[in-house]
Structures are given as structure tokens and as C-alpha cells.
């Protein structure tokens, strides 16, 4: 066999990387991501990967730590089960931090399901930290009206929200007695997979000077950095990695850090596939031109 024919057959073989059956890729993803999750149950001990919090995550953490004791935190849960994988661990980690710091907080959301999910986290963590509904935290539930509502809420919270998610009048909620407007809110933390941040910036931050921090999904992450750069955001958590960074600072292991190994395995697979795909494209082009390697 001549050298040319050998090179040509190698190129043809490599060019097949362009046409890998997607089901093979899916199967590889299932195995690579599934194994680290199954491992502890079959007696295989895998390490928890180290995390190095970014400046954006550290700023978020410091923003929570610096909330004055006489102010409450607004936890805006503008996400649904579609982005629970990313926003869920972020929200849980921040609620845990608020409870450790003994900060009172209000849950609400411009999405229908987000406040219900956050309530479940607060109830679960509340048992550990002795947090009581109505005294240490409350839930306004799903809020409609977008920017108009937020603006009214900033001016007169009791006029904008008459009752909580369970139907209890706001006047009868102990922790709400001294919370009347945006000046009683020390920080707004928003968790979202959509572009709702400008609503909070235009109201809480721009008009009333309330600090904002956000936990967002990986997809919209790059779009949020300009807000951090201008100081409109005091902190930012991006995706599951953001949750893991926060857990690192909290020195706890939750849904973020625990899943960094499968996440990294998945990323590694994608990098290899991208390289192989490019190799395949290069090989196909070379083979088409009939050139020697």
C-alpha cells in the first residue's frame, strides 16, 4: 500500500468524526454524567472538585454579609422548573447564607412557580436554623404587574401587597410591621433564567438606591456582566458553577459542589467532541482536495 493511499484512508477514517451518530454522543453523556452521581451508591468514592470563587461571586457573598441588621432582603425567584437545575442550588445556597447571618427575608417572584420552590428551601433550611414563617421570613408568592408593581412596591409596600401567598394580610405578619418601602430593604437578590433584571434595576436600584445581586443561568450569564461592571449589580452567580462557588464560600456541600464532577466530565466530553469534529472537518476537506497529509 502506497503512502498516499494510507494517508487518504486515514483522512477518510478521520472525516467520519463529522458523522458520529448523535445517539452515541447522548449515550456517552448519560454514562459520563451518570457515573459520578451513581458512584457513591456502588461504593466508589470520587473526589469533590475544588472551587475557586470568582470576584463576582465573592461580591455577592460580601453584599449579603454587609446588609444592615434593621433591613430585610428581597429574594426574587423569577425562575421555574425549566431552570431549576441552575437557579435552584443558587437560591438554596443564598437562603442558607441569609439564615446563617440571621437576616430576615421576603420571597416573591415574577414567575408563577419560583416562590413555591424557594418556600420549600426556606422550610427545609428553616428547621435547621430555627427560622419561623412570618417572624423571620415570609412569601408574597407570584407577583403580576412587572415594573409598575415593583415601582409601587418600592414606594409603599403595604399598599402594593395586601396579603402573602397563604392569604394572611401583610399587616398581620410580624416581620412586616417595620418594612414599609424600598428604604427598609437592604438587598434584592434575583434568581432567573430570563432577562428580568432591568425591571429591578430601573426601580429598586436606579430610583431607590437598593443594592442588587443576581443568580442567573449560564445562557444569559455573559449578558449580565456589563451590569456588574457599572455597579448596577453588586454580585453575580452564573449557572451551577456560581452555586458551587457560593457553597465553597459557605463551606458547605450542596447541589452545586456535589454536581461539579459530572458537570466537568460533561464539559470534557464536549471539548473532545469539538476537537474530533474539527479534525473530521479538516480531514474531509483534505480528502476532497486530494492532498497529501
Amino acid at each position: 500500500m502506497s503512502l498516499n493511499r494510507l494517508a487518504s484512508s486515514t483522512l477518510i477514517m478521520l472525516s467520519r468524526f463529522q458523522q458520529v451518530d448523535r445517539r452515541i454522543i447522548y449515550a456517552l453523556v448519560w454514562v459520563l454524567i451518570g457515573f459520578p452521581i451513581v458512584a457513591p451508591y456502588i461504593g466508589v468514592r470520587l473526589p469533590i472538585l475544588p472551587m475557586y470563587p470568582t470576584r463576582a461571586a465573592r461580591s455577592f457573598f460580601e453584599a449579603v454579609e454587609s446588609i444592615p441588621d434593621d433591613k430585610v432582603v428581597l429574594v426574587a425567584c423569577d425562575f421555574d422548573p425549566g431552570t431549576l437545575g441552575e437557579n435552584g442550588p443558587q437560591c438554596r445556597a443564598v437562603i442558607e447564607h441569609l439564615m446563617r447571618c440571621r437576616k430576615k427575608f421576603i420571597i416573591m417572584g415574577l414567575d408563577q412557580v419560583g416562590p413555591t420552590i424557594a418556600q420549600a428551601y426556606a422550610e427545609e433550611l428553616g428547621k435547621r436554623y430555627g427560622y419561623r414563617y412570618g417572624v423571620d421570613y415570609c412569601n408574597f408568592g407570584w407577583i403580576t404587574g412587572g415594573q409598575m408593581f415593583l415601582e409601587r412596591m418600592c414606594r409603599d409596600l403595604h399598599a402594593a401587597v395586601k396579603q402573602d401567598k397563604m392569604g394572611t394580610p401583610i399587616n398581620e405578619i410580624a416581620m412586616m410591621q417595620n418594612v414599609r418601602s424600598a428604604k427598609d430593604i437592604g438587598l434584592v437578590v434575583e434568581f432567573t433564567g430570563s432577562g428580568l433584571l432591568p425591571l429591578y434595576i430601573a426601580t429598586f436600584h436606579a430610583q431607590f438606591g437598593v443594592k442588587l445581586a443576581q443568580g442567573c443561568t449560564g445562557i444569559i450569564g455573559p449578558e449580565q456582566f456589563p451590569y456588574l461592571d457599572t455597579g448596577q449589580l453588586s454580585g453575580l452567580l452564573v449557572g451551577l458553577k456560581g452555586a458551587a462557588e457560593y457553597e465553597e464560600m459557605l463551606k458547605t456541600v450542596g447541589g452545586g459542589k456535589r454536581t461539579m464532577l459530572p458537570q466537568s466530565a460533561g464539559h470534557l466530553l464536549i471539548i473532545i467532541l469539538v476537537l474530533l469534529g474539527n479534525l473530521g472537518t479538516w480531514a474531509a476537506r483534505r480528502a476532497e482536495r486530494g492532498m497529501r497529509v
Binding site: I37, G85, A159, P198, G218, I219, Q232, T259, G266
Partner: protein, 359 residues
Amino acid sequence: MSLDERTVEVITYFVAAACTLGIYTVLYRENRLFRLFEHIFIGVAAGYGLAITITEVLDPRWFKPMVTENAALISACDSLVGWQGASLDERLKKEGKASIRWDVKGIGAIRFSAPPSNWSDAKYLKLWVHSRKPSGGSVIVRVATADETGKVKGWLSNSIPIDFAGWREVTLYISEFSREGEVNLKTVRVIEFAADDALIAAGTVVHIDNVRHCVGRKWYWILALVCGSLYYTIFIPRFAWMSRLIIGAVMGLQSGYTFKAFVLTFYPQIAKSLRPIYVPGNLSLTLNNIIFVVTLLCVLIYFFFTIEHKHPAIRTSARIGRLLLMVTFGLIFGNTVMARFSLFIKRLDFLITQFPWLK
């Protein structure tokens, strides 16, 4: 038949797992099982959306304010917390567990010092009053309000004639109260019930129950239904013009808010884009600013489509701008991969870690 918690947990797990795996069957190929679960998801989401719209928005924020008195409880009178000078009577009551018993002969006035402070929306005060026998006397109701420092500066007063025996629901309109001092209904501090001389002389025992202030029925909310219904006139050709009224109004309102939000959100970013490209004594910031300004200008030049990209300066800048955009798209793609994996990990984590016999 009632199911225990464990059984419900197991059933919930298997339903959720079946839904997840059913949806993931599309990874192999398009199939009927996937379609079935896709439709179940759409149905559940639509149903949940409708239910929560009714229970969390329409009912509490529109229907109830329209058809109820919008009462805010001042005291249920089921405990003595906040009450001074009174006792609790669990036998004679109108609502709840007990009522407040006030022996007028023994104590001339009783006070409740823990009312909700903001009465600014209240139109009237409502309470149940019980008297053993009719008398020519009255109960004087006095409401103390404070200024911003918390010091009592104003009083509202009204009277309830005790000319009846048994229970009676009394309504006292705020507008009919006499005012003394600087009244501020946003900071109510105390409600006092005092007996006049005739009532003390009659020596009756008064019971008070379920004290609340009310806004009254907001009948005008029905206009929201009328306005909302205008949207549907679009389906009737003869009246379709009416839908434009409401659509126009909402668009105008939203445009105003959007413009305001744009100014408040993006102007600071525009201002922040004007940076010095040389910061004395700070090399890293200088480099950062140079990269930022070069990127900004190159990308802006790339999007100048009204100038033909012929001149070498324009062409080169536009090409660099395009390359920088490609880098950004790569970054976004990387984040998208991370996001999609995260969502998949969450489902896989649920399937494995929540398996009932592994927990």
C-alpha cells in the same frame, strides 16, 4: 382509602421519573411516548398557570376586594395579648374562641395597645358589642395616633350607644369620628374603650369581639372586567374597533415604562463606556480600558452597514470587530453547554438520588 406519606412519596417519584424518561426517549428518536408526555407537560403547565392565576391573582386581588369589605383584623379578641383592663370570656363570644369581657362598673376604660398601625385605607371600624341590658349610656371609642417619632399626637373619638341587649355589630365610619390634635392614620398606636357616666351608673358588663377596620367593597373593580373584555371584541368584526382602545392604552402605558426603564438601565452603561485609555500608575486598568475601547469601537464599526467597508481602516476594524464577536459567541455557546448540562444533571440527580430504596 388514605395513603401514608411513604407511599405518596414513592408514587410521586415514579410519576416524575416516568415523565423524565418519557421525554428523554426523544434522544433515541421521535416517538409516541415522547409526544404523550410532551402533551401531558403542556396540559399540566397550562392547568397550573390557570389555577394559580385564579387563586393568587384574580381571587385575592380583584374578586375579593370587589365583593368583600376588605377587613383587616385589629383584634380577634381570642386572647388578652395587647389588652389592658379587660378579661377573657370563653363562654360568651360571637366569633372565634372567646371575647373580651369588660366590667364597666369596676374599670372605666380598657385599652388595646397592639393594633395594626396603618389605617390609611380604612373607611370604617367594625366590631361586635354585647350588653346584658339596655342603658342610656355609651361606650366612647378613642383611637390614638402618633407622629413619625412614635409620640402620640392625635385622637379620633366616636361613641357607641348601649341601648340594646345581646350582640350587635357596630359600624363606625372614620369620617364621622371627631378629631383632636394631629391625626396620622398611618401610625395608629392604641384603641381605648371608655364608659360614659350613664353607662357606669347602669353597671352593665360589655363584651367586645372581632374588632377590625374595613376598606369597604371596591365595586369599581368591575371596570377592570369591562376593560379586559374589550380585548375579546376582536372576535366580533362589528365591535373589533373596541379592542384597539384597550390595546392602545396598554401599549402606551407599557411604552412609557419601557422608555423609562431603558433610560434608567442603559444610560449608566453608556456613561461607563467612556473610559480613559491611559490611567497613570495603573497598568492593568490601562490595558483593560484599551481592550474595552478597542472592542467597543471595532464592533460598532462592524455594524455600520451604511458605510461600505472598503477603506483599509474601516475594513480592518470591522474584521477585528467580527472576530471579537465570534469570541463572544463562543463564550455564549460555552455557557449554553454548561446550562444545558446543569439541567440534565438535575434530572439525572433526581432519578438516582431520589430513588425510594436508595434514600
